[in-house]
Point group: C2
Chain length 336, copies 2
């Protein structure tokens, strides 16, 4: 498995320890591995007769340079298939409550990446053309650093300053944060809210619907990112339905699971018995964990074990606690 | 489950017979159920305390009117979540071998739906603006009837007539068919090839990569759509890897499976034993089946049973045939 940094969170936690995992960490302002290196790695692994999965954040052909990788494979005579995926421009607005099209408001959706174009010195986005059609939604990848410049160009080319707009950080995840207002004020709002990459901007009339359709952040457990020993069963489902992100992780942890856990802060860890405490005790120094990670112990014996090992934040639930009891305890802790 | 016509092919074949299934068949030039009726149906089912899945073809917010449905739910105080999906504008080019972005060729991807806009009398696509940026990919939903008119407008507004372009019918499926050439000649090519809805057009410089990256149609079993009694196991996997679409169907058939089978022509049906022949014998009049549907019988006893029941096209394989033997027989039959 050859994965991008933004794909770390979706590495399957049950990937066997025998699977080779290669990070080729692409990230905004941070390209430690060149595209040529990635192509060469794919050819080398395939040449060794391995079955290779190239795991990308988003869709491979939407600003993902998948075309270059596929061409390298064709040249080397290596068969492949392409699995399309939900690109950020579709997924992030859906989770934020923005329909990118809406009858009689928009007949066009445009995806752009301002950042790459400016950097490469190649063809540039024609902001002047994009500014002149009010019945459209404009979706900007890697939008944080470029936003002030983009907005200046759009307004100069005649876009109405009152056009609704939003900048969404880590959309679809428990760490989702949104700055929203008019396109003219968005750069200032984004700076005030300290929105950081990765982020997507959305500009267009349909952004106004977010006020009513922003369903994710309304869920009682939105923001929770919980480790849960496999199998999660009905308890995990109950928490997920209330908005928590559940990482279902076979114990002991495998290497892929450690990478996935580290893709964001763990707000908590659900522990059913003392064995689970033991299995995770040596993991607590790893990426994703912090002194803020709460141990939700589903019986007194489990809590006693966590206390004896010095876990920092422990909540003890009574014997026989179910998913509903845990969800309630989580919701209460969040209100405090 | 409330599903659109274009989502029929992804109805889970193992959906329990007790699940209510409602068709609200949206299709090009064919809207038997109005949007208001769909909204009312969702409210009624949710009001009865049911858990409702609104299954759409593609992404709910990309030309899917999901925003209107979500707003109806908000007004009625009914909680919901939105599951984004791979929209046709991303999936279809990926399967056809067109990277919708490519470094130094495109910095913009635009999705439009010409058909709906013209029909509604609402805001229209600004083809004049879209025509004036060569570093872009233009993806047109419901593109068959509108294509000649769209191309005329693009060329009139200054798009280079040599711009590569393709019209793709039933992309990603075994029935995928492609007309490709320059944008100026595409309407004529599409008419000659008799491309029919549903289809997507792709216009832009990256279409030229299709000649090398069109991986799906190169697979030896591309075009096969095979019914396979669950569980398919390794044999089904082997066929899928070679490009066949496998419908894994618990026997006896459930209502959802009948709908999914009927979403396209079945080229074949893999039969492991006489019981499977019996289970499917009364289904052969249903949607998807035809006199062209081949019965691939994995042992002489199974073939004998199919013959005794009058199945039209039977291929008998020797006892102990595995996935590789079946794949080879399929490939041979296709060469003839």
């Amino acid at each position: 498995v050859v994965y991008d940094r933004l794909a770390a969170s979706v590495l399957p936690c049950d990937l066997p320890a025998s699977t080779e995992i290669h990070s080729v960490g692409k990230e905004a302002r941070h390209h430690p591995v060149t595209q040529e290196d990635i192509n060469a790695l794919l050819l080398r692994l395939a040449g060794e007769g391995k079955r290779v999965v190239r795991l990308k954040g988003g869709d491979p052909y939407v600003f993902g340079r998948g075309g270059e990788e596929a061409e390298a494979l064709v040249e080397a005579g290596i068969p492949f298939e392409v699995v399309p995926a939900v690109t950020a421009g579709v997924a992030v607005p859906a989770y934020a409550g923005i329909p990118v099209t809406h009858r009689r408001e928009t007949v066009r959706v445009t995806l752009v990446t301002a950042h790459e174009a400016v950097k490469s010195g190649g063809p540039q986005v024609r902001w002047d053309l994009l500014a002149r059609d009010p019945h459209a939604t404009l979706l900007g990848y890697m939008g944080v650093t470029s936003l002030p410049n983009v907005v200046e160009k759009l307004l100069a080319a005649g876009m109405a300053p009152q056009t609704p707009a939003a900048l969404i950080e880590r959309g679809t995840t428990p760490a989702q944060r949104i700055a929203a207002g008019t396109v003219a004020e968005l750069p200032r709002l984004a700076a005030t809210r300290k929105i950081r990459p990765p982020a997507l901007f959305v500009i267009g009339p349909t952004v106004q619907h977010m006020a009513r359709l922003n369903w994710l952040e309304q869920l009682p457990l939105f923001g929770e990112r919980l480790l849960f020993g496999a199998p999660v069963g009905k308890m995990g489902e109950a928490l997920a339905r209330q908005g928590a992100e559940i990482l279902e992780v076979p114990l002991p942890l495998r290497p892929a699971a450690r990478i996935a856990l580290g893709a964001g802060p763990l707000t908590g860890c659900v522990l059913r018995d003392p064995d689970e405490v033991d299995a995770l005790d040596e993991e607590r120094d790893g990426p994703g964990w912090s002194s803020e990670t709460t141990a939700w112990c589903l019986c007194p014996r489990t809590a006693a074990r966590a206390r004896s090992l010095g876990w920092p934040r422990i909540v003890e639930l009574p014997d026989g606690s179910d998913g509903a009891a845990l969800a309630q305890a989580l919701a209460e802790a969040r209100r405090r």
